[in-house]
């Protein structure tokens, strides 16, 4: 199976790989996994007092498409509000990266991860 150029670009130069302090009250952490392939993904966001995502980091153990999907999401969500980020759809990710049908689940994983990170942040804030 051939990866698209955008997937290869994100795979070879992943953006925003890293870790934030999960205990920090301004950080939301999303942990998701795909049992079928054993992929695990951690996506974290740092949110300003006004509810805007200032920074995002990820770490993904999985295939190129899973890494590219999470890398792309961290680029996209910077500057977004929490609500905007929670509205991201896997189809947007899959379209941008030209993922083939067998790799659509990787974009679903990334969508689930950002939603989980937003939910975690909101829970922390008691909102």
């Amino acid at each position: 199976m051939a990866y698209s150029e955008k997937v290869i670009d994100h795979y070879e130069n992943p953006r925003n790989v890293g870790k934030m302090d999960a205990a920090d009250h301004s950080v939301g952490t999303g942990m998701v996994g795909a049992p079928a392939c054993g992929d695990v993904m951690r996506l974290q966001i740092k949110v300003s007092d006004t509810g805007v995502i200032e920074d995002a980091k990820f770490k993904t153990y999985g295939c190129g498409s899973a890494i590219a999907s999470s890398s792309l999401v961290t680029e996209w969500v910077k500057g977004m509000t929490l609500d905007q980020a929670a509205e991201l759809k896997n189809t947007q990710i899959a379209d941008e990266l030209a993922l083939p049908p067998v790799k659509i689940h990787c974009s679903v994983l990334a969508e689930d991860a950002i939603k989980a990170a937003v939910a975690d942040y909101k829970q922390k804030q008691g909102k």
Partner: protein, 177 residues
């Protein structure tokens, strides 16, 4: 022999997780002999095709039953749950966090002062986590209730993550030596 039978029936084994692997190997040899192509050389094309079909089914069955993970997945599949092809991502967050930490340790193992010992320790950790999951699966799959089948599926999903981890450790071990 009938390829409409499931693999357990085909091999004359009880439909359970805890099977006698020695018995499986012996049955496999017996069935292989029965199906040896030389014995069918004088037969019609159709009969030979049938024999080839049986052999393919036999080999798939052997590979499936011999591996504890594939056997567990197969038992669930017989009960209508396909954990191998599903895309659900709802997993216990604590389990995922632990997986993440283990994957990080595996990734950093080649830079460890003693990579060989670190990888061996990791493999042992994975095996220690695998054993109770297998025991849990073994019990749950015997019960017919839906809640038990679902609990068995949860155990298999975790086993799938651990299997991936185990293969990753083995890949690094191969690279080291």
């Amino acid at each position: 022999m009938d390829i409409k039978q499931n693999f357990f029936e085909f091999y004359g084994l009880p439909e359970a997780f805890d099977i006698d692997l020695g018995q499986l190997s012996r049955r496999h040899l017996e069935l292989q002999k029965k199906l040896h192509p030389d014995r069918y050389a004088h037969l019609s094309d159709q009969e030979r095709r049938l024999s080839a079909q049986y052999t393919a089914y036999l080999n798939e069955g052997y590979a499936t039953l011999r591996s504890s993970l594939l056997r567990a997945q197969y038992l669930l599949k017989l009960r209508g749950i396909d954990t191998h092809n599903e895309s659900s991502t709802v997993m216990d967050p604590l389990f995922l966090m632990q997986q993440m930490e283990l994957r990080e340790r595996v990734e950093e193992a080649p830079q460890h002062a003693d990579p060989e010992a670190e990888l061996a320790a990791l493999a042992e950790d994975v095996d220690k986590m695998m054993a109770p999951l297998q025991a849990e699966f073994c019990n749950e799959i015997l019960a017919p209730e839906e809640t038990s089948v679902n609990a068995a599926a949860v155990a298999v999903r975790k086993m799938q993550f651990l299997d991936k981890l185990r293969r990753e450790i083995e890949r690094l071990e191969d690279e080291l030596y």
